[in-house]
Amino acid sequence: MIDQLILLLPAASLASAVLIMLTRGAIGRRAAQVSVVGGTVSFLIAVALLIAALSGQDNSRLELAGSWGSLLFDPLGVLMGVLITGISLLVRVYSVRYMAEEPGYPRFFVLLDLMTAALLVMVAAGDLITLLISWHLIGVLLYFLLGHDTRSGSAYRYGFWTFITYRLGDLPLVLAAVVLYTTYGTWSLPGIFDALAANPDAETYFGLPAAEFVAALIALAAFARSAQFLLHTWLPYTMDGPTPVSALMHAGIVNAGGFLINRFAPVFAHTEHTLHWVFVVGLATAVIGSVLMLSQHDIKKSLGYSTMGQMGFMIMECGAGAFALAIFHLIAHGLFKGTLFLSAGSIIGQARRNDGVPKEDLYTFIVERRSARNRPPWLLMAVITLAIPVIVLVLTHLAVAPNLLRNQGVEVLLLFGWVTGAQLIFTTYNLGSQNPWRLLTLIVSSFTIVVVGYTLISHAFELFLYPDHELTDRLYEAAAIDFGWFVALVVLTSVVIVVGWLRAFYTERGRRGGMRPPSHWWRNFHALISRELHIIDIYTVITRTLLAASSRINVWLRWG
């Protein structure tokens, strides 16, 4: 029964795509209804599979052909299946009216259904070839979805950026598959993981450790798909595509990097260094994405950079060894960002009628720049700012799973939680409410609820996705660094953050005494950020140079 359901999961979306394609002339605009029915069936199947997984059904692998062409039933695939089918169904329902005026209406639903099927095959792939096929197809389908309006040159231009970055990310995955096959002699993912567990020190080309080498290649593939720094330029610029596609992309497709790293968790568990630089890349992406988001004047690009920052954080969680947390993060972010995109149109419409900004504390402080009316004592607030988040975070983790606090990865994430909580309270202090204690109590209560919820849910995810504690322990171990270095880095990070806060505080205080012109250094920094670190300019120059060289060679060798 489970085997039939896991096969039906992508088949329902595929069937609706084929049906629309074959009957598009006859059914016309009813194509959307066919697509919604296909999406509903897929979603119901995914939910049924999730219920089966939650009720303790054993993992299984359905083989459709010989050495490849297999689908897995496991908690990770099923959970991702529910996310994909859920978001895809919402996007289809939303598109029924949203795309009604666009040419190529049935084609849009064919592509959407094919994309859903490809995504579902990717998360359920039981072997490397099936995974490669679906991974590659997602990039191709996304290119045509983003360029659905064939009149728009810019939609295709930026769709091409996405396509070419995805293709670049396909290369390391192909190489990883080749290395795994030549080392372990099978395409089957469970077979590879078993062989790896039996012989974790296997070597591959040039005497390199197979696990470390493959993990590095998989991480590279994940970076391209999840818009990590230097491979991120496509993400903020793909807003010319239809809004439902943006929603699907930001809520689902861009998360594939986090999924891929989780799928290969048994490989990462046998690495020594890879997770460290995964963490560094994720951290750099989170910081740079957030800085670029704050400096954008275009709201859509700002949303794009926001996704980049979130993806950086998700990859960073993987680098810290918190693989299940990354899955929770990508689901939460997917739902949040999907809602943002799908409700953007109606919010803009409402805002045109009424800006909806209440003339309360937040408005007067941020927009009208009025100074605070009531402020609690500075020192008391400083102590509360620094202490309360730590107390809440530590007590929550101790209550949920005391042994978690022994892992460096969890400690790193706690540090980020502390920074976020402290920033929140610091902002409350600056807000200058008429009743600051009431506001503070509300904020601390909300923070506590969020932390308790986050900790409980992420712990539940870990128990569901990785019931094998040995694997999770090994992942945290692989992510750990030398204790001395760890303490030094935590202290350094804390100092940098506190100095940043102090600088923000004194800048704000100085502002009240009159604006000073920004320094030369600051103006240069702002120019650099405004030009998005010139990365796109550099890529453009490289591309033009290559095309000019190709053209020149064609002239030299014009006879053949």
């Binding site: 050495s67 064939t150 009149r151 295709y156 070419i164 293709r167 190489l175 395409w187 190709s550 053949g560």
Partner: protein
């Protein structure tokens, strides 16, 4: 004698500069059926010659083949004439056949790889002839908006270019994977880079033809029956590839 054999193999499984011969001939052949025949027969002749050679292939030949494949892939990026674009892709793809040929891969598999690369190119050739008849020339960027003016033609063109540039589920994708598995690590890395450039060139070709506002065209779109014929052919190609090439992996 052996030297002549290598020379002939280098002509038919094109190694630069011998590859110039094939591209020059393809450029001069006007009839689409002749072009198609050339695209199918040329690598087969190369494989026949290669199978007659009983020596192990020297490793420098593999490097030369990869350099040829990379050169023609790179040249595709700026090539606007679709017939020559097809010839460059054929030269690039067939040069890659030297990689599995240098290992202990069976001859029947080499034939399958050659067919997997050639057949989608035949479809592109037939379509480019169609463009020449409609517009007087088959140049990328000369006219756009085919997706709106001739949607059925544009659909078939998109699928056939994807098939030619080794996109799944087409047999050339499985061929590339099979060749990568059979190759040593350094050639495998070069191979995936060539593959990447094919995709880049393919996207540029499609953008130059299908994107843009619809321009008035005196010609009509493909007839539905012809479109179904192309669709059936490409579906058959994909299914046959999955069965024949897939079983080899």
């Amino acid at each position: 004698m052996q030297e002549f054999g290598y020379l002939a193999a280098g002509l038919f499984l094109p190694l630069f500069p011998l590859s110039i011969v094939f591209n020059a001939i393809l450029g001069r052949v006007g009839h689409p059926l002749m072009r198609s025949a050339l695209l199918v027969a040329w690598p087969m002749a190369g494989l026949l010659v290669l199978s007659a050679l009983d020596d192990d292939l020297p490793s420098w030949l593999v490097a030369w083949a990869l350099a040829t494949a990379a050169l023609y892939a790179f040249r595709m990026l700026a090539m606007r004439d679709i017939t020559r674009w097809t010839g460059f892709l054929a030269s690039s793809a067939w040069a890659l056949l030297w990689l599995p040929a240098s290992t202990d891969v069976e001859t029947s598999q080499l034939w399958l790889h050659a067919a997997a690369f050639s057949i989608p190119l035949v479809v592109v050739t037939l379509l480019s002839r169609n463009l020449e008849q409609r517009f007087g020339a088959a140049y990328i960027g000369l006219y756009g908006g085919l997706a709106l003016s001739t949607p059925r033609f544009a659909g078939v063109l998109v699928i056939s270019v994807l098939a030619a540039t080794a996109t799944p589920l087409f047999p050339s994708f499985l061929s590339m994977l099979g060749v990568a598995v059979a190759a040593d690590p350094a050639p495998a890395i070069a191979l995936v880079l060539v593959w990447f450039i094919w995709s880049w060139a393919g996207a540029r070709l499609l953008q130059g033809l299908i994107v843009g506002a619809a321009e008035p065209s005196p010609q009509s779109d493909l007839r539905p029956a012809t479109t179904w014929g192309y669709a059936a052919g490409l579906t058959g190609l994909a299914v046959a590839g999955l069965i024949l090439m897939g079983s080899q992996l």
